[in-house]
């Protein structure tokens, strides 16, 4: 079987998770590779979560929050917006393609857009190939 990427999605409750639900109620089909985890706000997303997901075998991580200016908590998404560049920088230093992690703003009304984002993300991660993390760590162990 060909490689199918595993993608973990961290979605804020008010915009993006609702947007993903809207994709469902509108029956907008999209790639099945994403596993969504709900958080109250994108500000709750600690870079640790992303590293944890990658470490546990995710090939990509999608972070979605309300559009800037539209946060349910008024400014939570800006906190994620600030963490994101540093997170990408760290991933690059760890030799992981930063494209495996992506931050997108998806509102509660953008079910269609959510589907497009997931499809695009899935395609890109598929092109990147499987995450090297678990395999490399296994090779390290085998060497000893």
């Amino acid at each position: 079987m060909s490689y199918e990427p595993k993608i973990v999605g961290f979605l804020c409750n008010w915009c993006s998770y609702t947007g993903a639900d809207l994709a469902g109620t509108s029956r907008v089909h999209y790639a099945p590779n994403i596993r969504i985890i709900r958080v109250m706000c994108s500000a709750r997303i600690d870079p640790t979560f992303v590293l944890k997901a990658l470490r546990e075998g995710a090939d990509g991580v999608l972070i979605c929050g309300c559009h800037p200016g539209d946060c349910h908590y008024s400014e939570g998404n800006y906190k994620m917006m600030r963490r994101y560049p540093l997170l990408k920088k760290m991933l690059t230093d760890f030799g992981i393609e930063p494209a495996r992690v992506r931050l997108e703003w998806v509102s509660a009304s953008e079910g269609q857009r959510f589907a497009e984002v997931v499809n695009d993300m899935t395609q890109r991660v598929r092109e990147l190939g499987p995450s090297p993390i678990q395999q490399t760590l296994a090779q390290d162990m085998a060497e000893r």
Binding site: K6, V8, N13, Y17, T18, A20, D21, A23, G24, T25, R27, V28, H29, Y30, P32, R35, I36, I37, R38, V39, M40, C41, A43, R44, I45, D46, T48, F49, K52, A53, E56, G57, A58, H72, Y73, S74, E75, G76, K79, R83, A115
Partner: protein
């Protein structure tokens, strides 16, 4: 830890889930997991028989945690929380896996959808194992209200609240009540007297036994949180001052605005040309009952210039909303006082959005007010007329509707000065812990759905302090704020959601990284203990501080690191 006894329930949602997801297979996979005592699938988990099945299983098998793989938790989480509570479990011991909206409805390959449903349910299973019992809290709500600002807005809110039975402290910085409306003659578009309006309000406020009016006063501090604020008010009496302190449950901020300083617009010559006056100066003339130039002459030509300080790149980009109708009111008042006077109304756009406004605009046209349009950033320029002219001044403007460069004769020019956030709005915002937008107006909780509440619980904003608006809108907001407060105080206490952030005092290092992150100012710093604390009544559980806390001292109840880690592990098995 004691062995957990988890029940897993996979809903078929009629065929909504079952036609794509093989629910039996999900149940089979889950039933093999450690800790899972019961795993079942059923047609409609949310139906009464479905809920009763879960309740019966909890009692029969001694289940302590429940996973429901069904629709979106946004739909039925409350249902299942209630159900397991009926069975004697803490309501937070249930976790839902969204296998309908985010699985069966968006995928069509049964195998793939089943795999995904299984993964999502594994996520829920791992997560629920980490759940903790949570209890809702109740906080006492003081019924007294502090109203800051004694204009139309503050007085209306105070009366509404006091009529509703609450005690109100109305704090006004100036020596008299009335605010800016007290400076106005008639009101547009129905030309009622502002004086009558204000007098009626002031009399009622001053006579109301449940309103304490504090003039010459300022709120110097506001401590606490919703239902439990302590306000300190300083009052200055001539050369003496006194300080009073009282407890309030809620605050209405109705601090209004100040007018734009017309001398900032140099090309209008305000302050240099004696007969260029501001709208408020003209109101004074109208109240005195005599429209005349500085020299005491009756003007033959009156010009009104709109958007002074508003809708321009240089000053304020926003529209001040009331000036258009006020300008029409001036045209009307000039024409009725001096029938042979020619009124030019120099505007950018005529904003006649409100009730009766368009008709009022038409009446202005019918009375032969000459409307002349200028471009937003191409201001008219006023200069003194020559000796041969039959007027005092000439206003040169690039008139948009004709495309001509014209000059308008004028003996008296009225500048429609816009509204501006008061210079102390920053201090007020800090005082009550709310934010301001780039123009200095206070920010509402939601611009459309929650316009009088703020991100700080118990603090309401009404009237122009939130953005320019006219008297009817202001009064509506004042009453809305009062209504919100009355609805909250009537119960005597407020219930606080069990989901909020809390700081482990032992772990908090007092680094204060979290302090500025909270949009609700729910985090306070105790300087003596050198620790930060979350006021749970104020916290809305976004988790921004939790993610940022570098010492892992802040816990997001029901969204803890370990719960989310567990879910990550689960969905990736």
């Amino acid at each position: 830890m004691e062995e957990q006894r988890i029940g897993v329930y996979v809903c078929q949602c009629g065929t909504n889930i079952a036609k794509v997801v093989n629910c039996e297979e999900v149940v089979r996979a889950l039933s093999e997991q450690p800790g899972v005592v019961v795993a079942k699938t059923y047609k409609y988990m949310c139906s009464n028989p479905g809920q009763e099945m879960i309740i019966a299983d909890i009692q029969e098998h001694g289940l302590d945690r429940i996973v429901v793989a069904a629709c979106s938790p946004r739909m039925h989480e409350p249902t299942f929380r209630k159900a397991i509570q009926t069975a004697g479990l803490n309501p937070y011991f249930v976790e839902m896996a969204n296998i309908r909206e985010q699985c069966s409805w968006v995928h069509d390959d049964p195998q793939v959808a089943t795999d995904k449903a299984r993964a999502l349910t594994f996520g829920a299973l791992h997560r629920v194992a980490k759940h903790e019992p949570l209890e809702r809290m109740s906080v006492e709500m003081c019924p007294d209200v502090l109203v800051i600002g004694g204009g139309v807005c503050g007085m209306t809110a105070a009366l509404e609240l006091a009529d509703g039975g609450n005690h109100v402290y109305l704090v006004e910085r100036e020596g008299t009540l009335g605010g800016n409306v007290a400076r106005v003659d008639l009101t547009a578009p129905y030309l009622d007297s502002a004086r009558d309006l204000i007098t009626a309000l002031v009399t009622r406020v001053e006579e109301h036994k449940r309103i304490d009016v504090l003039v010459h006063s300022q709120v110097s501090s506001l401590e606490g949180f919703v239902g439990n604020f302590t306000a300190t008010v300083e009052t200055i009496w001539g050369d003496g001052a006194s300080v009073s302190q009282f407890r309030v449950g809620n605050v209405v901020v109705a601090t209004g605005y100040k007018e734009f300083d017309a001398s900032r617009v140099v090309h209008y010559g305000y302050g240099k040309l004696p007969n260029v006056i501001t709208s408020f100066e003209f109101e004074k003339m109208l109240r005195a009952g005599r429209i005349q130039t500085k020299e005491g002459k009756i003007p033959q030509y009156v010009a009104i210039i709109h958007c002074v300080g508003s809708r321009s790149k240089e000053f304020h980009t926003y529209c001040s909303r009331v000036c258009c109708m006020t300008a029409l009111k001036y045209a009307h008042e000039v024409k009725s006082a001096i029938p042979n006077c020619y009124v030019s109304d120099v505007y950018i756009d005529m904003h006649a959005f409100g009730k009766g406004h368009e008709d009022f605009y038409k009446r202005g046209s019918e009375a032969k007010t000459l409307f002349l349009m200028y471009a937003k950033n191409d201001h008219p320029v006023i200069r003194k007329a020559g000796p041969g002219d039959d007027c005092e001044m000439l206003i040169e403007v690039n008139e948009k509707l004709s495309g001509e460069q014209i000059e308008i004769p004028a003996d008296l020019v009225i500048l429609m000065v816009g509204m501006e956030a008061r210079e102390d709005s920053d201090a007020v915002a800090r005082l009550v812990n709310i934010s301001r937008d780039k123009d200095g107006w206070f920010i509402e909780s939601h611009p459309k759905l929650d316009p009088v509440a703020t991100t700080t619980d118990g603090i309401y904003i009404a009237g122009v302090c939130a953005a320019p608006k006219d008297i009817p809108d202001t009064v509506a907001q004042a009453r809305a704020a009062a209504g919100r407060i009355l609805a909250k105080t009537i119960r005597g206490s407020i219930e606080i959601d069990a989901v909020f952030a809390e700081i482990d005092e032992d772990k908090c290092s007092g680094c204060r990284v979290c302090n500025a992150l909270c949009p609700y100012s729910a985090i306070t710093y105790d300087a003596s203990k050198k620790k930060s604390t979350v006021i749970s009544a104020v916290c809305k559980a976004c988790g921004a501080c939790v993610a940022a806390c570098p010492s892992g001292a802040i816990k997001a109840r029901h969204f803890t690191d370990s719960q989310i880690f567990a879910q990550i592990e689960g969905v990736l098995t």
